[in-house]
């Protein structure tokens, strides 16, 4: 019952996260905000790519909530950065 597509999606997402972690270690800067934003972009891209037009498998049902939460935190980070720039 496990779709091959679900496996692919999870693998690609994990590979993406490892890649960005590798490059962050290489540049000697570990920033949680940057990591979060890049992983959110990866998640959004993968969600768009595996979403079928005619079906919504169970693992795609509630990804909307996860994306909404991610976008909310992203908006928080952006607003904070804007405040920092304005205060400087």
């Amino acid at each position: 019952m496990t779709g091959a597509k679900k496996c692919y999606a999870a693998t690609v997402l994990a590979a993406w996260l490892i890649t960005i972690a590798f490059f962050m270690v290489l540049s000697r800067t570990l920033d949680l905000e940057v990591f979060f934003v890049l992983s959110l972009i990866g998640l959004l891209v993968i969600a768009v790519l595996i979403d079928g037009a005619f079906s919504r498998p169970r693992y795609m049902r509630h990804i909307g909530y996860l994306i909404a939460a991610g976008v909310a935190i992203f908006a928080y980070i952006v607003a904070q950065k804007i405040l920092e720039i304005l205060a400087a």
Partner: protein, 524 residues
Amino acid sequence: MNHRASQIVLATAIIAALALLAGEATTPLLYTAANTSTAAHVDPATVPKQTGRDADALIPLMGDLLSQTGTLTLNIKLKDYESAERDLARYAELSGRFDRLVINLDVSGTDIGEFQRNNRENLAALAALLNDTRRLEDLQRIEIDIQDDEGQRTTVIYEGETLQQKLQGGVTTYAGRENATIQIADRYGVNTTPYRESVRNYVEITGAVEAGGEKSPPSPLGIAVAPDTGRYGDTFSIAGTYAGGSPGTPVEIYVDSRIAGNATLDENGAYTSIYRIDRIPAGLHLAYAVAGAIYSGVTPFSVRQDDTAITLTLGEGEVCTGSLMTAGGRPVTLAPVFLRVDGSTPVETRTDENGTYRASLALPAGEHAIRAEFNAAGYPLNASESPTETIVVRNEGLSPLPFIAAIAAALGSGWYLRRRNRPEEKAPAAEPEESRETEATITPPQADIAGLSPREAATVLFWALRSRLGLPDTNTPRDCARLIPAHAGFFERYEQIRYAGETPSEEELRAMKEEALGGEERAA
């Protein structure tokens, strides 16, 4: 069971990871290679650059200052007062720039600081020289005009006498600074020829002035300073009598060409005034009085150098307070104090009447080292600095704006996703209805799937299960899953097969067949 266990492990791992990340959420920058250094070297890529502290400008500026003294005194000697005025303005501007550079580079405690102090005194002395020689020349012209008027002539003579005495005193102090200044300038390779010339010019100017004037009787306006030496904060009493003066005449007291006090003649023709030593350099100074148009003679007094001590206390909200006192315990009032944060360009503040200062700094979050410095230029005091205090600035309270933005974004994306999903449900619902019309009435579950392709077999099994469960034919697989959650897995898998083009495997078909007919076997 295995599946369940792995799900539990996955869930705990996710929760643990999120908890760890949430713990660091307030300081998202976990690590940067800032200022990597060893004993032998630092990594230049990680050391921030600094601007605004150009030490290369110091030596040329010192050269400019010294050469400016030469041209200024030359113009005074040649009596070209307009050019001398321009030179003086330029000299003052250069001195201001030099002062700022010295403070920015934090070299006040070195011989550069001493050069700066000497330069300030030179500036004051040359300004006085220019004004006094010009006034003397005016007086000489006036003297010729008013040859007949005896009364006016004496006043002019007295003023001239005062000015000459001032010039004499000025020459001694100006020449007295020559050696120290030249020594410092030579150490840094600055050209001192114009400066030496300026000293010679100064002497010449004063000599010419003295030769030009005639011997005159002493002024009727007397002046005396008691005591004749003191320190910062001491009060001197400047008093004298004016023989033949009318009571009530206002008397102005001058120290080094700047007005220092007022008095009035009493019925005995005496006046007295208090003078407090404030912002004048150490050394010899000249005081004289002017009553109406009569100038008194010039009397010298000296000011001694004193040590200072400055304190610094850090309070709540990055407020720095402290006090600046002399060694004798006297407060230094209305003096500029510099607060240096992290060794960079300092912030200026001022002490009040009690010698205390208070400033609030805007500092970013983190640890900072703050030091208070007193430059003492223009004061008869030595520079001092406080010990360095460290302050840790916490992040300020969270402002509501990011939270509002986050909630708005969550609501917006939720609404968008809702809207996107609603039409999707309508579309599949329409499709099966059309396919329904082409088929005859459904026979009861006869799930005979031999010889059919896997996908067609799955379709037959779906019909079988749907009718077995008693669901109307108009229900799509998703509707069925919603209505009968016990078989949701079957319906969802069928949905993928039918609409997403997936192909079921043999085992899957067998499982689906069992599920579709399962109830029938039990029923049968």
